[in-house]
């Protein structure tokens, strides 16, 4: 979690710049894993945006057919969990790198 994450890097060499605590360059695997987490975080935002699209349909002049609306909602509903599941599967395959970095971006 971003809020908690900040305080996670323990070395309390306080005055040193942040770049000291969080390495600027990380191993490729660590980098990949962090981007996966980014993906997992972004997914619900995408879902929310997609599911708020129906708000635009409620225009009385050009009525949206219920069937197309339902198809849209359910396609998103199938797609999001599948993407989430794929992300989780990839995360499982990739070894867990330093536990402290888990919440970091």
């Amino acid at each position: 979690m971003s809020g908690a994450g900040k305080s996670q890097n323990q070395p309390a060499a306080a005055p040193t710049p942040k770049s000291d605590k969080i390495p600027l360059f990380v191993e490729r695997q660590t980098y990949r894993r962090r981007r996966l987490v980014d993906g997992a975080r972004a997914l619900p935002v995408l879902g929310l945006v997609l599911w708020l699209v129906p708000l635009l349909w409620a225009v009385p002049e050009s009525k949206t057919h219920a069937s197309s609306g339902l198809i849209y909602i359910f396609v998103v509903w199938i797609g999001l969990p599948l993407v989430a599941g794929i992300l989780i599967q990839i995360m499982k395959i990739r070894p867990r790198v330093p536990r402290n970095d888990e919440g970091e971006t």
């Binding site: 979690m1 809020g3 908690a4 994450g5 305080s7 996670q8 987490v37 997992a40 975080r41 997914l43 619900p44 935002v45 879902g47 929310l48 599911w51 708020l52 129906p54 708000l55 349909w57 409620a58 009525k63 949206t64 057919h65 219920a66 069937s67 609306g69 339902l70 198809i71 909602i73 359910f74 509903w77 199938i78 999001l80 969990p81 599948l82 989430a84 599941g85 989780i88 995360m91 499982k92 536990r99 402290n100 888990e102 919440g103």
Partner: protein
């Protein structure tokens, strides 16, 4: 048509089947073969208690009445799960690490184990859940009614009653069987997972029958939908977004959801699967709702209850088996929700209301013998009964009907008031107990006033409230606060209650100061990812391990308690069965206990034994102060010891000096006795000669007499010096102050010192210009000093042609340096030459060694000082005289 009796028989068989599932799961878990019980799929399915009978029957009804709005109720939770990385992951970890037993426990524990908050959330949960339980009872009753209408009969009330009783029995048996530290109910969870499959299968079966059996295929169904009254997408935008948010909030806050999602959670693996699988489950549950609604509206006579389409459509087509399956699906939905809700609520009621009261009433009973476990279990069981009784009473009072179907969202709204305190608590360390209380109180009050009470119609709030506001205050209109009308009542409450809730929570948190325990708990909750070891909350003290053992046995059961104590004892490296009551052990014990009785109660119980010796931050500060004091003290000690070692060094130096002096004194004494004896011997000898002398010439007589005289003078001078020094040292000397020119004093001294200088011929170098200084001093004494210094140079200067330079410098003070060209004084002798009886060497015994000592005494008396200047070409003495006196004399 299935007869009522057959229906009852099937229901009972089904319930027995669930009993069996729960029983075997429970047994497997007790035998330690619970791995498959913890499978992620079981966890995922258990989340399905979100889909109650309100979903199973109500979603179709809602779709038939309000169109596509029903989808939002499932879209919200789907988003929450897909966004598991944000909230759920953290929530679940906190639940596991802190041994959270309920949502009330979470809030209470986070905010400093405050029982007041626990009670508040519990009440909110009970108020919010009771109508929901009533709703489940109603759905079962209605579904039974559908079958009974065919066979005829009126059993509405009794059905609900017996269902309630049956559920109470099931819940008591499987929900309160174990009181272990994990507070996990494997049997119940397994039964719920089975029910989840049953309800999904039932709904999908009806859906498939409707789509392929009645409509004839997917495209035909879609056409049918477009052609129906639901044919166009008409959704209230505000409600679409609002309900999505509300359902997401409720998904996190509902006590039963919290129970299965957080309390029953065993590992992150479960959540990882649920994150994608449960949205799919919800999707499947929602998939056939619209087709069923459309077909139901189409084929069934107008005015039939759309809530029961799931049953009535198959019945209409004579599909009895399908209808029966559908009935079981609805029955499953209702029962699983009621069971879990009852467990969750009973845990809360027991931990936050009954146990604290019991502890208060029976003070200091924790450490005496007896089984508290029974009390806890009894209170749980009674709570379960109470919760179900409340639900039944609510149902009986409201008389069923449409009023109940709206209550689902009202209940959601109520429980969502916990959201700010919960999210604030796990993400924001600044959230305080006072803030949580303020937020909950404000949100709850607004919810009650604007939504809950109005939901009962005019029964509770007088009609006038809805006409012109209470007491004519239009801005207090329950459904149009601040005079802003025209908002959907639900959204109206949602906006105002959650806004004011969050604002009150935030502002009160900002303006209040958290207690030490709160701050520790807050840090632990917010930083849960760090896997903290936990804050130190107990100090070791009077807590007796035996008392703790007694108490733990009564709550955890003796086997578990002994295992725990033994494990901890081993970990502490102790041979006995009782671990030392260290702070760490108390922490672990409290956490274990909190798994059974909640954080606040566990804290109170340990507190009773330990004597309330919870460490506050003040204590820590005091300890820190003490430490600082000790550090300061040790720094002082260090300084002192340095001082001591310095002093010791000085003392050693002094001792060395004394030793040297003593040696010198001994040497001098022998010297002075020799000095005294030599003249005395000659005096005696010559006086004897004179006395006995016959035939001594007058010349000889005169010679002998003058020898005696000289020797006597020498003795007298020696004794004078000794006396002089003694007088000077005792401060008895009186100075004869007068004015004089330095050059005159030096002239006199030079003349006197060199009077007897017969052979060596000391050469004196002087600068007469600089000597023209008037002095106000005792010139006699000063010249004595100078004489001494000059004659020293005369006596001891070992140069070929001895010379003495007298340099006068006028600075802040008047310095007169006497520098000869000899080899000087050896360094080791420099610090003793001013002492009495000190002599540079024994060989050059020219005097008694009192000259410099006397000189120093004199100069000190005159307000100046005399010192040896090292590093000069020869022996160098410096006399410093105060110039004030000198200037004043000019």
């Amino acid at each position: 048509m299935t007869t009522l009796n057959a229906l009852a028989a099937i229901s009972i068989l089904y319930v027995l089947f669930l009993f069996a599932v729960a029983f075997f799961a429970e047994r497997a878990s007790r035998r330690g073969r619970a791995n498959w019980l913890r499978a992620p799929i079981v966890y995922t399915l258990s989340l399905s208690i979100y889909c109650t009978a309100w979903t199973f029957y109500g979603a179709v009804g809602s779709a038939a009445r309000n169109g596509f709005e029903y989808l939002t109720i499932y879209l919200g939770p789907s988003l929450v799960l897909i966004g598991w990385w944000w909230v759920l992951r953290k929530l679940v970890r906190i639940g596991r690490v802190q041994r959270i037993t309920s949502i009330a426990d979470l809030i209470s524990s986070r905010y400093g184990k405050s029982n007041l908050l626990g009670v508040g959330v519990t009440l909110l949960a009970v108020i919010g859940t009771t109508p929901y339980i009533a709703l489940q009872l109603q759905s079962v009753t209605l579904s039974v009614e559908v079958f009974s209408q065919a066979s005829g009969g009126e059993q509405e009330q009794t059905t609900a009653f017996w269902v309630a009783v049956g559920l109470a029995v099931f819940t008591v048996i499987f929900g309160t069987r174990n009181l272990d530290a994990n507070e996990r109910h494997h049997g119940v969870v397994m039964a719920i997972a089975v029910e989840a499959i049953v309800k999904l299968a039932a709904l999908m079966a009806v859906g498939i029958f409707v789509v392929w059996g009645i409509s004839g295929g997917v495209s035909e169904t879609l056409e049918r939908i477009d052609a129906s009254s639901l044919g166009h997408w008409e959704v209230n935008g505000g409600r679409w977004a609002g309900l999505m948010f509300l359902s997401a909030a409720a998904f996190l806050c509902l006590p039963r959801m919290f129970q299965v999602m957080v309390v029953e959670n065993d590992n992150d693996q479960q959540l990882r699967m649920a994150a994608w699988a449960f949205p799919l489950y919800l999707m499947l549950m929602s998939l056939f709702i619209v087709p069923i609604a459309v077909v139901g509206l189409d084929v069934l006579p107008a005015g039939s209850n759309p809530d029961l389409f799931v049953l009535t459509v198959p019945l209409e087509y004579g599909q009895n088996a399908l209808a029966l399956l559908s009935f079981l699906g609805g029955f499953s939905s209702a029962t699983s929700m009621v069971i879990v809700a009852a467990i969750a609520l009973s845990t809360m009621v027991s931990n936050h209301i009954v146990m604290p009261i019991w502890l208060r009433v029976n003070e200091n009973v924790v450490s005496v013998s007896g089984d508290v476990r029974n009390v806890v279990l009894l209170s749980r069981r009674l709570s379960i009964g109470g919760v179900l009784a409340l639900g039944y009473l609510y149902y009986a009072q409201s008389g069923g009907g449409a009023a109940l179907s709206e209550i689902g969202l009202v209940a959601f709204m109520g429980i969502a008031q916990v959201l700010p305190a919960m999210l604030g608590g796990i993400f924001w360390r600044g959230a305080t107990r006072f803030g949580a209380l303020a937020g909950l109180t404000v949100g709850f009050s607004i919810w009650v006033y604007t939504l809950y009470l109005p939901s009962f119609g005019a029964a509770i709030l007088p009609e006038s409230f809805f006409d012109g506001g209470p007491f004519g205050l239009i801005w207090l209109h329950p459904q149009a606060l601040f005079g802003i009308s025209g908002i959907d009542p639900l959204l109206h409450t949602m906006i105002w209650s959650l806004t004011f809730n969050a604002v009150a929570f935030f502002v009160a948190s900002l303006s209040s100061f958290p207690s030490p325990l709160e701050r520790l708990q807050g840090a632990q909750f917010v930083n849960i990812q760090q896997g903290t070891g936990g804050a130190r909350s107990w100090s070791q003290g009077s807590a007796e391990a035996e008392d703790l053992m007694v108490m733990a046995q009564r709550i955890l059961g003796s086997a578990d308690a002994q295992r725990l104590f033994l494990r901890e004892a081993r970990r502490q490296g102790s041979d006995t069965h009782l671990p030392a009551p260290t702070a760490e052990f108390l922490q672990i014990l409290e956490r274990e206990l909190s798994g059974s009785v909640g954080a606040a109660t566990a804290h109170a119980m340990v507190g009773q034994i330990v004597g309330g010796m919870s460490i506050s931050v003040e204590d820590l500060m005091a300890v820190a102060d003490e430490t600082a004091q000790m550090m300061e003290y040790s720094a002082t000690l260090e300084a002192q010891s340095q001082e001591l070692s310095r002093t010791a060094a000085q003392l050693r130096a002094a001792n060395d000096k004394l030793t040297r002096l003593s040696v010198q004194k001994d040497a001098f004494l022998s010297q002075i006795s020799h000095e005294l004896r030599t003249p005395m011997t000659s005096i005696r000898a010559f006086s004897e000669i004179l006395r006995d002398g016959d035939g001594i010439t007058a010349e000889e007589q005169s010679k002998y007499a003058s020898i005696i005289h000289d020797e006597a003078i020498r003795l007298t001078r020696l004794l004078d010096d000794l006396l002089d020094l003694s007088v000077l040292e005792n401060g008895q000397v009186s100075l004869n102050l007068g004015e004089g020119m330095l050059s005159d004093v030096l002239d006199r001294a030079e003349a006197a010192a060199l009077a007897h200088d017969d052979k060596r011929g000391l050469q004196i170098k002087r600068d007469r210009e600089s000597e023209q200084v008037w002095l106000n001093t005792d010139t006699e004494r000063l010249s004595q000093v100078f004489i001494n210094l000059i004659s020293n140079a005369r006596k001891y200067c070992d140069a070929e042609s001895p010379a003495l330079a007298i340099v006068v410098t006028k600075g802040e003070a008047l310095t007169v340096d006497f520098i000869d060209n000899g080899s000087g004084v050896a360094p080791e002798a420099q610090d003793v030459i001013f002492e009495k009886f000190a002599r540079v060497s024994d060989q050059k015994a020219g005097g008694a060694g009192l000259g410099l000592a006397i000189s120093r005494q004199i100069v000190t008396r005159l307000g100046g000082e005399i010192s040896y200047l090292s590093g000069q070409s020869g022996a160098a003495f410096r006399v410093i005289l105060p110039l004030e006196k000198a200037l004043a004399a000019q």
